[in-house]
Amino acid sequence: MRLFCLQDHILDKRGACSLRVPALLRKGIVFGAQCLSAVTLAADSAHSTATDPLWMVGIKAFLVIFGLLTAFAYMTLIERRLLARIQVRQGPNRVGPNGLLQPLADAIKSIFKEDLVVSRADKVVFVLAPIVSVTFALLTFGLIPFGPKGAFFGYDPWVIDLDVGLLYVFAVSEIAIYGVFLAGWASNSKYALLGSLRSSASLISYELALGISLVAPVLLVGSLNLQQIVNWQYENGWLILYMLPAFAIFLLTSMAEAARTPFDLPEAEQELVGGYNTEYSSIKWALFQMAEYIHLITAAALIPTIFLGGWRMPGFMEQIPLIGGLFALPYLWMFVKIALFLFFFIWVRGTLFRLRYDQLMVFSWGRLFPLALVWFVLSAMVVAFQWPLAVLGWLSFLSLVVFLIYAALTAKPRPRNIPRLGAGD
């Protein structure tokens, strides 16, 4: 709610602003505040339809935040272990049994490190930036349904039920970019500023393709509400069947959104001494990491919710005798799917290299964005002319075939007779 104060402050005094905020940033903050007020208005209007008492919402919000922070801590451990195994190492295994207390040791270390605030930095914004990052990263997850109505001890297994669900997700994850940008600007350092400029540029360009790729499923389902999207998939089959290109684009762009490896320019350790978080140390730096991982976990929860049937399996699976009941279980499948995508993200990080900045931009504007637009127009046609769903299914199958043919055509013949280096001596 800090942004509201800023907004009033800036609007009242115009140029004579006591905070040292450049014009571009000022506009940005005003825009962010407007987004936020729109979102909170939407939340207020949706609140009237909520069935859970407020204290229950509070408990669930606490549980989500607590769970996310724990998941972040153990995600770092799992990621380090898996990356190590990919590199044929063992990874951190000294703290506690099998290294299970490593996150605790990391937390203690990062809290007790010296907390530097650069002397020429804008202190308010410098402290605010990581808080903005992590707060808006945390806000998204409460939307995701984990089961049917009343699955959480008689209450609903989600924190807020918004009819503007996906819009809210976008608004909040857009604001998280402000954390990055404010951090770079407030540090009063050239490296940090350059890093934050290029990372916010890349984040914004990927946000475009992300948004367009999600318009198609929203059109098809006819709702932005995540629970209705899940229910639609229960009745008609998973959206990935009808929306394969949109799924692929969303997967790639949400990796960019969480600043993961093929697109992790925002925190490129080897270049720009780290990017926007160059001047940050101790718990503030950890907060940026936390925001990034929470974005990742949120992405890993959003992708299955939108494309892979959310917390339930397709309807026909429940007809299977004996194990059919297993597919109707709440929570279980959501956690399995989240874990699957988190593993996929780690796997990609262990394999792929970082794209160059121009490649990054070309990939976003030249490949993903037009592809998303084309797919959006195609699915809009299907919806507008009321063609049967199977058309979309065949279209997405066709896109898979085209993709495979393209992959086969561009594949270079595998080089032969490369001398293999022996292991060890």
Binding site: L82, A84, R85, I86, Q87, V88, R89, Q90, N93, W347, V348, G350, T351, L352, F403, Y406, A407, A408, T410, A411, K412, A423
Partner: protein, 178 residues
């Protein structure tokens, strides 16, 4: 970078994920050393128990780091220490100066000083790095800090390495059991 290559590289990392880590968890598990490893020196004996060292100081002369100090004395003919006329009354190697090059072993005319395998010699005092005859003769197991710890705790000495075989120059040397 084609899509096929990307897919191929994903396959490579997936295969690596399910392979056994190459890491040797050293303090928990012993390091497999090569038979010609240059570790702490060993002063070997003849099969009849006499020391091979005759106190000629050729090792000290060959030493590029001036780490070796030898003081020779005449053998008592009735009760000889070494197989020659003289023996080393004092034989000291400063392990902080030693660069483990093995020139002493090459210079030794009787094959008395041989590079062994012990490498865990980290200690607290400078004086504890000067290894005498009592620390280097073949029957002595482990290094100074290891033996000190073993004496303190009463547990057997735990040497942190294994060797596939001991080279014949290290006559009478017993490697740690696997």
């Amino acid at each position: 970078m084609s899509i096929a290559a990307l897919a191929q590289s994903m396959g490579i990392t997936l295969r690596a994920l399910f392979s056994k880590p190459l890491t040797i968890p050293y303090p928990d598990a012993p390091v497999p050393l090569k038979p010609r490893f240059h570790g702490r020196h060993v002063l070997t004996r003849h099969p009849n128990g006499l020391e091979k060292c005759i106190g000629c100081s050729l090792c000290a002369a060959a030493c590029p780091a001036y780490a070796i100090y030898v003081e020779a004395a005449e053998n008592d003919p009735n009760n000889p220490v070494s197989a020659g006329e003289r023996y080393a009354k004092v034989y000291e190697i400063n392990m902080l100066r030693c660069i483990f090059c093995g020139l002493c072993e090459e210079a030794c005319p009787t094959g008395a000083v041989v590079m062994g395998y012990d490498f865990e010699m980290a200690d607290y005092r400078y004086s504890d790095f000067v290894y005498g005859k009592e620390d280097m003769l073949v029957e002595v197991e482990g290094t100074k800090p290891q033996r000190r710890e073993a004496a303190y705790t009463g547990k057997p000495i735990k040497r942190g390495y294994t060797v596939p075989y001991v080279r014949p120059e290290l006559e009478g040397f017993k490697p740690p059991k696997k």
